[in-house]
Symmetry: C2
Subunit: 340 residues, 2 copies
Amino acid sequence: MKKKTTIYDIAKELNVTVSTVSRALNGFSTISEATRKAVLETAKKLNYSPNKLASSLKSGRTQTIGVIVPSTQVHFFASVIHSIEQTLKNAGYRVLLYQSNESLENEINGVKTLLEAQVDGIIASMSLETENVSHFQDVIKQQKPLILFDRTHKNINAPSVTINDTDAGYIATKHLIDQGYRNIGFVTTNHQIKIFNERFEGYKKALSDHNLPYVEDHVVFGGLSIKDGRFGAGKLLRSAKVPDAIIAGDDFTALGVIKKLKEQDLTPPKIGVMGFANETFSAFITPNLSTIDQQANKMGAECAKMFLKMVKKKNPYEKIEHIILEPLLVERQSTNKNNA
Amino acid sequence: MKKKTTIYDIAKELNVTVSTVSRALNGFSTISEATRKAVLETAKKLNYSPNKLASSLKSGRTQTIGVIVPSTQVHFFASVIHSIEQTLKNAGYRVLLYQSNESLENEINGVKTLLEAQVDGIIASMSLETENVSHFQDVIKQQKPLILFDRTHKNINAPSVTINDTDAGYIATKHLIDQGYRNIGFVTTNHQIKIFNERFEGYKKALSDHNLPYVEDHVVFGGLSIKDGRFGAGKLLRSAKVPDAIIAGDDFTALGVIKKLKEQDLTPPKIGVMGFANETFSAFITPNLSTIDQQANKMGAECAKMFLKMVKKKNPYEKIEHIILEPLLVERQSTNKNNA
DNA sequence: ATGAAAGCGCTAACAC
DNA sequence: GTGTTAGCGCTTTCAT
């Protein structure tokens, strides 16, 4: 393995200095056309490939952004990552990926790792475990752009891109009410993540706006998964007054709810079911699932644009923007009461 | 924004030299316990965070691996990335992500970008467009580990992790035959990617092993998508002898096939349908879809392990290993002929 | 239009 | 056990 070509090799070959080569390579205007051409040719001939590490060390900027998500296995996060990378690569940035796996410890390590790698900024969605957010404060302290999406936290004063989750909860509930359902249950999580609280608030507000009582027995706090959905539905079916519709914390949980209901011959829309997230499968299951679309692609693109905006400011935190996307109601069979 | 602390600041504070600090920080044994402790404390006090860029520049290793996939939106790739990152982070490596979006140009740029970022190796699955592979040869020329997974190419002499796609095609076909289907159609792609050719070979071999004729009209070459599936199914339904089962190139295509069949009141398993990939939704659609699992998580983990093995050799290409995982048959309703 | 040289933060070979 | 110093490859200020 022969040593890699550096600008010194090019300089030597042409009997010029490295500064000339560097300028030629970077398209400075103070270089004679002849020199530039010679440099470019020699670079090609010697198979030169720039070492961005060195220029990063000098400039203090790596053209790399860190992205922290719970898991790429969750389609929503994979989609957000997709658009972040797509958008940012066009602006000359690379994406360094880190998964927290819903663990706070991992997340802390992620921030540390990414900062040590000298990323120019971080885009993150928090783990379910995260309550103390001091690791994220470290990013802000360094005056590097930090953008939070979807799962944010009240104690952190950074820009964010979210959907309006109160609206999301409201819209989901209102949709069920509009369809004629009156006793609406809710299977959600007890984690202290803003979005879940907000959806719950939206749910309560919709009930109250439509003069429906809030029934404590109609809310199940647990985890979010197919299994939790089955469990939640089971619990609701055993409650004093059985709900005629159920909102689940996400589409997987909704799937569990549906499975349970099918077993009891209460296949939706007999009992209405709504999810959150609009996973790929939700359109294809039977009955297909009404849900709230969280605009993953748009969210990723907005995060990327926000980063690009912040990164060119001397003080990125001078004016903190919060972008709130509107949740989209996706009406499907599982809430189509008239066809019950 | 105050300047970041370096080992020089720590050295000055303690009246020692940077080498001492460096040694203490890196746990060299030639440092007195007292000094080490003092350094560690001061580092903490000054909020020191190492600049890995600098050490990478010095050492020539970045502890970063590049991963190139068509798109994180495809669940299979997202899963592979998931395990790669999980496995590699434990070994102290970071993952730099690049999506080709099935475009050769992007893929070429990806390799270039990652090499310029001085990654220690690359794990990649090729775009559908890729026929010329010289950009990948550049990685090998640099003697950096290159590991290809799932979508490989005959012209590239690098380690790979794949599933046995001939077997996959064979197993899928044989399963249908075992279920009693006799006229088996195939909706696949015309792209020159090894895995698709191999599945097709497996399909033909299974037919011949079971004394079934290979009927040219029963094979549709097109794209892979829900739409292509509908189209392919439509074409097969119009053929002289309508097939009683259809294998689709992937689960999305299978979904399209199923939709078309449902419209014609030929809902599987009336006509049997098999997919490839075992996407999340495949278990939840109606009828749920028999498919071939490609062991995404295992594949990612194997890629990561292969990289770790190669990276510690002086000549990583001394002995090129090809890991071939067995495809897993996932039997579900869509091929359950006895329940038709 | 080009050259000389300092320095980004860290490591390591070589002294003492 | 600790210090000195020369780079890693590149950018950039200051000269010429």
